[in-house]
Amino acid sequence: MIRSLTDRIDSLPTDEIGGFKVRPGKPLPFGVCHAPNGLNFSIYTSAGTACTLVLFRRGEAQPFAELPFPTNYRIGDVFCMVVFGLDDEDLEYGYRIDGPFDPAAGHRFDSTKVLMDPYARQIAGRDVWGEEPDWQGTYPYRARVSFDDFDWEGEGPLEIAPENLVIYEAHVRGFTRSESSGCKHPGTYAALVEKIPYLKELGVNAIELMPIYEFDEFENSRLHPDTGQRLYNFWGYSTVGFFAPKAGYAATGRFGMQVDEFKQLIKSLHKAGIEVILDVVFNHTAEGNDQGPTLSFKGLDNKTYYMLTPQGYYFNFSGTGNTLNCNNPVVRSLVLDCLRYWASEYHIDGFRFDLASILGRDPWGAPLSNPPLLESLAFDPILSSCKLIAEAWDAGGLYQVGSFPAFGRWGEWNGKYRDCARRYLKGDDGMVGELAQRVQGSPDLYRHSGRSPATSVNFITCHDGFTLADLVSFNGKHNEANGESNRDGGDDNHSWNCGAEGWSDDPGILTLRKRQMMNAMAILLTSRGIPMILMGDEFGRSQHGNNNAYCLDSAISWVDWGLLESNADLYRVVKALIHFRKEHLALRVNNFDGIPNEHLPCCSFHGNQPWQPDWSDQSRQLAWMMAAREPNNPLSTDIVYVATNMAHYASWFTLPDPPPTYQWHLCFNTGDQNQPVHHDQPVFEDSGLLLGERSVVILTASIVP
């Protein structure tokens, strides 16, 4: 071919290997990227002795070329090469690494294995969810080239202030897989786009997606010993590739267009004012322990990527076989590169880190006081407006709610909020004192270290554990469908079935359950901090008592959209509560000290008598009044009063006097079955009210017109 003399010289090959034109590559960025007329491949191994690039045509079992890297194509521990004339759309690639197989020394090199690029931005092999893979395949998860050329048309991350968020936790497939979703492509990113009008109407402004990094639903897949039903890795907390969106969640995964489809989802959510938070799993990988498969890290540089015992076995702080060695500088860079990529290339608004306490352990497993990875993420220039939320515990016994190394940046899933709210709801003794802390944003946990209420992600239910409907319908878990004889899943549910275990047609029980769900939502949505709602809880989704549906791809784990109609009353209350929260600044103050109004403190507590909460162990009544001056109108104060009675009898609450010129308006009363929401917010002129058994009432005070 005759080249134009204006070509750059580095757009021309210098060498030929196995019939392919090549030239020495650039070591950064890692992975594959487009170079003039070719593709730049870059891969790291510190202990590997030689490296071969293995090239496949799409879906073919045998490679069409294997290109050993010449020794002068290695810089430090990085092999890099530009290969010319490849069809980037039809290409799948991997590596073979030579090196010692010496597990006791931490090395598990095996050059018979084709290894996936840990920086692969697109991965083939599990293109359609649930399609049985070829178990004999020599290269199951296949790195591909992504284009990274999406046109965002000016759309970007929303940067909503944390205290203004209402998060909705959802599983991409479970959210829309059911026929009842009415979606054209059930169980996909595309279907989620179809549900955006619903989310907007509900009023949430952030969606937290359970893992969407490529994982294998067939990992540890098995048949249920009794029913023969196939069990999957449904939740996906086991990453195959950190840089690639799951293809099987894309309607277009079979065409390799999951990257575009997922970006289109994010763009559409942003257009609707909804942020996207990814649930990310950096604590372990899909390679398991010494019995597990060699897919990528294990064969690339086992000793770098995993925490190993002195004998070369895998530490298991994740409860899943291995532990990623997050505070090794190389792994730290990988995590940072990964998050930067999702923030910049996908416009992701935030990350929730699964078992985040692992990220603060040193390479030998000891908790660090100043973990470099957490610090790097907190101060990273590209991630500076991303929400960073820790699940502040791990499976190795570290529990750091309130003490997670936050560097002024990290939020936390507040497990203590969940437990306290659940216990208060079911009427346990001795909960009002702690509840007072929780509804203020948990100052007992966060104030001393200078953190703010929106550090706390408040939730009562999440994917892990009972749904809200099950929380009020079951005393114990019922996980038989998981095929582990009901041994799996937590036992500390703090749940109460309201009088019968599971299904019931007793109208009294059903009414109480519904009220309890409304009470839970009312407490959650009037607490300071960031509320998080589990998908479907707004209309009473049940998993039939299963509190650990990680392996079920069935009606148990799919949202039944029919409930939206049958539990329309609950849905209307939740929707109204979310909108109420948005209207009331007082509920979203992100400062423990607040700015007191001349008449009212920022947050105060009350009991049957105003200003006199009953802190005794037997108390099941607590009211809180939150106040905040309107920033645009300093003469006006937003005031919300929430009274809760979790006793099995009615209880009189005398209202605090509103400031002069203000009067009370009634907004919610969960005890009023016929009208739990008062959209017209009538003036409330009585001096107090009788709160029904297990009920919540919400009032607001505003200036007499």
């Binding site: 039809d90 309607a251 065409f255 289109q264």
Partner: protein, 108 residues
């Protein structure tokens, strides 16, 4: 892949026949590069295209930019429903004016 051009109702119609993927897309790009006339709106007739890969769809975007630069309209004609569906869920669809067939093209 077969490519031809005709003038219909004042549009320059490019008739594509065959699958558009990374193997054939260069031909289409070459055709567009060399055969487009300035000043006339472009109708890409895809009635004979059963499948378009990601690279094919990206070529449509390039054509979209090209016609924007030329200051002329671009219409896609006769897209198979499966291709249209892929375009919708990946966000490509919104950029284009779509007509079911050549007969439905308005006079340019």
């Amino acid at each position: 892949m077969e490519l031809s051009k005709s003038i219909i109702q004042g549009w320059q119609a490019i008739h594509v026949s065959g699958q558009v993927d990374s193997k054939t897309v260069a031909e289409l790009r070459e055709f567009i590069d060399t055969k487009l006339d300035e000043g006339l709106p472009v109708a890409l007739d895809m009635e004979g295209v059963p499948f378009m890969s990601s690279a094919g769809l990206r070529t449509l975007l390039i054509l979209h930019r090209r016609t924007q630069d030329m200051g002329v309209l671009l219409a896609l004609v006769g897209i198979a429903s499966e291709i249209a569906d892929t375009m919708k869920v990946t966000g490509f669809y919104d950029y284009f004016t779509i007509h079911p067939n050549l007969e439905s093209l308005p006079p340019a």
